[in-house]
Amino acid sequence: MIDKFIATAQAALADVPDGATVMIGGFGNAGMPAELIDALIERGARGLTVVNNNAGNGDTGLAALIAAKCVRKIICSFPRQADSWHFDRAHRAGELELELVPQGTLAERIRAAGAGIGAFYTPTAFGTELAAGKETRRIGARDYVLEFPIHADYALIKADRADRWGNLTYRMTARNFGPIMAAAAKCTVAQVRETVPLGTLDPEVVVTPGIFVKRVVRIASLRKAA
């Protein structure tokens, strides 16, 4: 019997090694797998490359992972925020490498990894300093930049409901990077609000099919107002 449910976030992340590339879902608090990030901090792996839209804010979540000195490099689109002080400090101290990627290119590079695309041409960032040193090509009447996929060892995402095959649904804008990160990682770990018996999720409504998910942890966290 296929059963991807795992009892605790700690057990689900017990094998994350030093130097792993870890995608972390979420856009703001929506879809941020807070309890999985806590478990990753507890796991204590070092030298991680983290892929996320941001670079942490406040003192929790990804910011705490940075503060715990687990992260060597961040690939993201929007690191600087009013309260991204842990990133700011580590980056200014030269302890934390930054790869800045336009948000759509970040999403498409993650999607390309999951879909087996070797590279793609995007018009985004052509003629800007974020395309400096990159291959470009004119196709038709437009100029494009060549971009390569971002593969990961782990993806940590937050979904809404899951069955034991790992089929996932999401809740509103918490979907964001979850489905594409799930497909781009060797080992995708989803924290979910609710686990349901097989056959409960409408097959038309499954957003991430279980083929992309290795481990599911139920986290009965309270939903906070934003």
Binding site: F27, G28, N29, A30, G31, S77, F78, P79, R80, Q81, F87, D88, H91, R92, L98, L100, V101, P102, Q103, G104, T105, A107, E108, I110, R111, T122, P123, T124, A125, F126, G127, T128, E129, L130, Y170, R171, M172, T173, A174, R175, N176, F177, G178, P179, I180, V207, R223, K224, A225, A226
Partner: protein, 218 residues
Amino acid sequence: MKKFERQQIAARVARDIPEGAYVNLGIGLPTLVADHLPRDREIVLHSENGVLGVGPRPAKGMEDEDLINAGKEPVTLLMGGAFFHHADSFGMIRGRHLDYCVLGAFQVSVAGDLANWHTGAPDAIPAVGGAMDLAVGAKNVLVMMEHLTKEGKSKIVERCSYPLTAAHCVNRIYTDLAVIDVKADGLHVVDIVEGLSFEELQRLSGVPLKRTSASKAA
């Protein structure tokens, strides 16, 4: 001369957006446009974090942390809205499905180059977000900004001194002094704030402007 207030600029942008348009409003100043869209027009707002049909801010206490816009502010969803993931969302943008995006700017050049993501200061940590995707992707890129810097310099420039967001992308500029179309043959003044002459606008802007038959005080 009485400069356009921020809300007046937003209202002026809103006037130009037709029924049925799919529109992305950038973070900051452009979000003000939402409040001025005419209630008798159905206009569908997109947010790059995976939603079409963005509605107004929820009532106090009704916020849901799973329903936010690209500025990470709580929003609501209109009837007819839909959710999708980030790659699909930026596919919509890059694939030229959005009719309009409205962006803030540091500078716009006479060629329609846009600089709005990075001051280029050596110690600044840059953050780009979805700005470059929106600038190359939307069918019409509308820019909202103050006409002059705090030091009184024109933000409409011959060449951007700040790092580019995208080249040749801006279609129309809305400032506190004027509305200006960016065309292949140069900048065409559409509206000027009451009490400001074309010649004075020309002097303040420091780049060549064209007077069009449509140029008029707003």
